[in-house]
Every structure is written in C-alpha cells, then in structure tokens.
Amino acid sequence: MSAVLTADDIRRALKRMAHEILERNKGADDVVLMGIRTRGVPLAERLAAHLEQIEGAKIPTGSLDVTLYRDDYARTGPLPLGQTVFPDEIDGKVVVLVDDVLYTGRTIRAAMDATMDYGRPKAIQLAVLVDRGHRELPIRADYVGKNLPTAAGQDVRVRLESVDGHDEVLLEHAAEVTP
C-alpha cells in the first residue's frame, strides 16, 4: 500500500475543482451537486463548502443511490438500497455528479440514467477525486482531483474523514493483491 494523496493533497484538489466548476459554469447559480453513494456524498458536501466559501452562496447538494440502475442485478443479486435525495428541481440546472473513483464508468452511466428520471437538466457534469482509467464505456470526467494510471489488478482505496476517520487515497500494488 502506498499513499498517493495525503489529506492536504485532497483538500487542495477539492479546492481547485471548486474553482474549475465556477469557471466552467460562470458562477454557481444553476449548479446542483449530487454525491454518488457512499463516498461521493461527503465529497459533494465538501465541494459545496468550498464553493460557498468562494462565492458566498449556498449550493444545493444531494445524494444519489444508483443501485436500482446498475447493470449487474442479475449477477450480483439485490444489494442494500440507500435514499436518493435531490435538493431541488433539476430542470434546466447543471447537475454535477460527484464520486470518489472513476473506473469502468458503469456507475456513472447508472447515475446519469437515475438523474434523467428526475428531470431534464441543462447539463450533467462529472467530478471525481481519482480517475484510475480502464473505462468500459465512453465516459470522461469534467473535473479530476488526480489522474492515477493503474493496472487492472490494482486497488484504489479512498478514505474520507466523515466515513473512515481520516483523509487518504491509497494504491494497492499488484504484487500485494492476493490472486
């Protein structure tokens, strides 16, 4: 295991991403942040806090559980469900999906479908703390904390203060992965 992002790195990355969101959308007036459960939710809240600090306005923030939209129900079986909370009407808004790790892109596909069932946003954007590559769908992130080239056998672990007690991103090396 080696740390690829420290707590300070994560804080700086989130702050930079907040600035990028503002720059890209010319302010935060129409922005709604939706954290993908589980670790996307605290990340969305922290992005919202940065945005509020910079812009002085409160950004609507919600949580999205994509379990019912996953493409592997027939294989994995039922998984526990969490609540989905949209803070606001999303018609005509810019919905920024927030997740910890972008990998195959399948979760994001599910999250986009779930979002579309709630309304017709002006745009959907994607913010991730780590992009580890190996996409299986034509999906890319608009805001990335860190691009982290990985091998398929490696494991990226994101730890966050509110869930795990501390902030850290770890990369488990292929050699450490037990076959």
Binding site: Y73, A74, R75, P78, L81, D113, D117, Y118
Partner: protein, 307 residues
C-alpha cells in the same frame, strides 16, 4: 432472502427488517416524476389469481411495473381454469412460458407451497385459503413502523373475525416475531381453535383492551367465507366488536387504527372512524406497493434470467 414467500413464519426478524428497510428506500419512487426504475427489466411476473381480488392484484401489478418487470395477469375466470384445467397444468404451462415469478392467490391453503414443487419460478403467496397472506402482514408491519417508529414492545390488538382470516394469522406471527405484544379480541365463535398456541393474549372484551393499545387492527367480517351464522346481526357485531367514535376516544394518545380492506363500514368500523386522523388505512394501501416491490427486488436478483 428466502427463495419463496409462502408464509410469514419462514421469515426471521432480520428478514423482515431487510424487507421493511428496502421498502423504505423504494417508497420514494412513487413521488418521482417518472415512477419507474429499470431494475427488473427482462423479468416476467405472473399474477395467478384463482380468487377474486382487486387491491392485492393491482398492488402487485403496480409493484412489478415500477421495477420494469413485465406482468401477465391470469385470473381463473375467463381462462382455461374454467374449462377444468387444474393447478398443476396451469403451473406447467407458465413454467413452459418461462415466467420468473408467480404471485398466486388460491382458496386452498397450501396451494402456493404445492406450486413450488412444479415450477422453477419464485412463488409469492398473495393469500391462500385461511392460511397465510404474508405481504399483507409485511405492509402492515411497515405501516406500523413508519407511524410509530418501532415494532418491538408495541401493544397491538387484532379484533374480529380471526377464524376466517389469513391476514390475522400472518400478522400475529409477524408482530410477535418483531417483539410486539399482541392481544386477539373477538367473539368466541370467531376465534380459531387452539388460538392459545398463537403466542398472543386472548380477550373477549374490546373495551378492556382499547385503553392499553397502540395499534388497533380491525379485521373484516368475511361474510363470503361463512357457511353458518357466527353472530346474530351486523348491528350487534358493531356494538360489541366494532370501533366507533366513542371507542376511538378511549385509545391512548398517538394510537393508530388499521384495517386490511375492503371495509364493511358500519360493521367492524364506523364510517367516521375509517376517515379519522388516526386511521392509517389509506397509508396501508400506499405502503403495500413499496413492500411488494421490496419482496420482488429481494427475491428476483442474483441469477441470470432463466433462458
């Protein structure tokens, strides 16, 4: 989760909690602009009803459709059953057509259990004879937990025609599994033999029970199942065993009144009580959809769609 939902007896407290928690997450789908999720796309659910039912069949149908399953409705009337086809041949036909789940209602106790011997599909009991109606009990438990915040330690009274009631049988088992204290109340002619083995107290006096009750569950007087006179008249039944404005006033603060429907207004429940603020009867109907979605969701995943 279990393979088939035949009886509430098959469910542990953990199973029941899983069903209720899942239903809670599924309930808000009804509030969305698009009341549908794609989870059960490609699955086929057959509603196989040998007995008349409107609310249960429609509730199961909506539940399956909100999860994007395809639904086939099969009722005994107007089908080959009226030509004399037996349960087994009907089951084998459905099996050959490749349905993934069969929701069955039958007048014979044990028919759903029998069905599991003949088909690979998951079987959900939607009421069999006087035996069981597990999804009704689950939606009742869900409604109680939603309104009162818990099940453990609550005082529930199940009042009326317990003898003919599969709802009562399932509900009492579910409530005791979840740690509630249950009292069965009714005229001796309408209580089943060996009711003392149900794990519930028995009372023949509703007025003694009402002030000590958090959940007052009124059963429907099932005149269509009665082959003989069990009580002299509807009016006498209402006076001795029904809930009216006066008895409602003697329930503890915050208590709720429930009924599985369809109601005989003026018999087991007076019209004004049915519409009173502490009556949660329409909530039961709404919650029925979420609970049935939960059962389908928990039972139909995990293996690739049958070829």
């Amino acid at each position: 989760m279990i393979d088939h939902l035949l009886s509430i007896e098959d469910l542990t407290a953990d199973h029941i909690t899983e069903v209720l928690d899942t239903a809670e997450a599924l309930k808000d789908i009804a509030l969305r602009p698009i009341k549908k999720v794609p989870t059960l796309r490609g699955r086929t659910v057959c509603n196989l009803f040998f007995e008349d039912s409107t609310r249960t069949r429609i509730s199961f149908e909506i539940a399956a459709k909100r999860l994007s399953a395809d639904v086939i409705n099969f009722s005994a009337k107007g089908s080959s059953v009226s030509k004399g086809e037996g349960l087994k041949d009907t089951a084998l036909t459905l099996q050959a057509m490749g349905v993934d789940a069969i929701v069955v209602r039958h007048s014979a106790s044990g028919a759903p259990q029998q069905l599991t011997q003949w088909v690979d599909a998951k079987v959900l009991n939607a009421g069999d004879g006087w035996h069981q109606h597990p999804t009704q009990a689950l939606l009742d438990l869900f409604t109680i937990r939603e309104k009162l915040g818990r099940l453990d330690g609550l005082r529930a009274a199940v009042v009326g025609d317990v003898f003919h009631s599969r709802v009562a049988r399932s509900l009492v088992q579910g409530l005791t599994t979840m740690g509630a204290e249950v009292t069965i109340v009714g005229p001796p002619t309408l209580l089943p033999p060996r009711v003392d083995t149900w794990g519930a107290a028995v009372s023949y006096d509703i007025d003694e029970v009402v002030p000590k009750t958090d959940v007052l569950y009124m059963l429907r007087v099932q005149r269509e199942r009665m082959s003989q006179q069990f009580f002299p008249s509807s009016r006498e039944y209402a006076r001795l065993w029904g809930i009216d404005r006066d008895r409602l006033g003697r329930l503890p603060e915050g208590a709720i009144v429930m009924h599985p429907g369809p109601m005989n207004r003026g018999v087991e429940i007076s019209a004004d009580v049915a519409d009173a603020a502490n009556s949660v009867i329409t909530d039961q109907v709404t919650n029925g959809i979420a609970v049935r979605m939960s059962c389908l969701y928990l039972m139909l995943g995990g293996e690739e769609v049958a070829a």
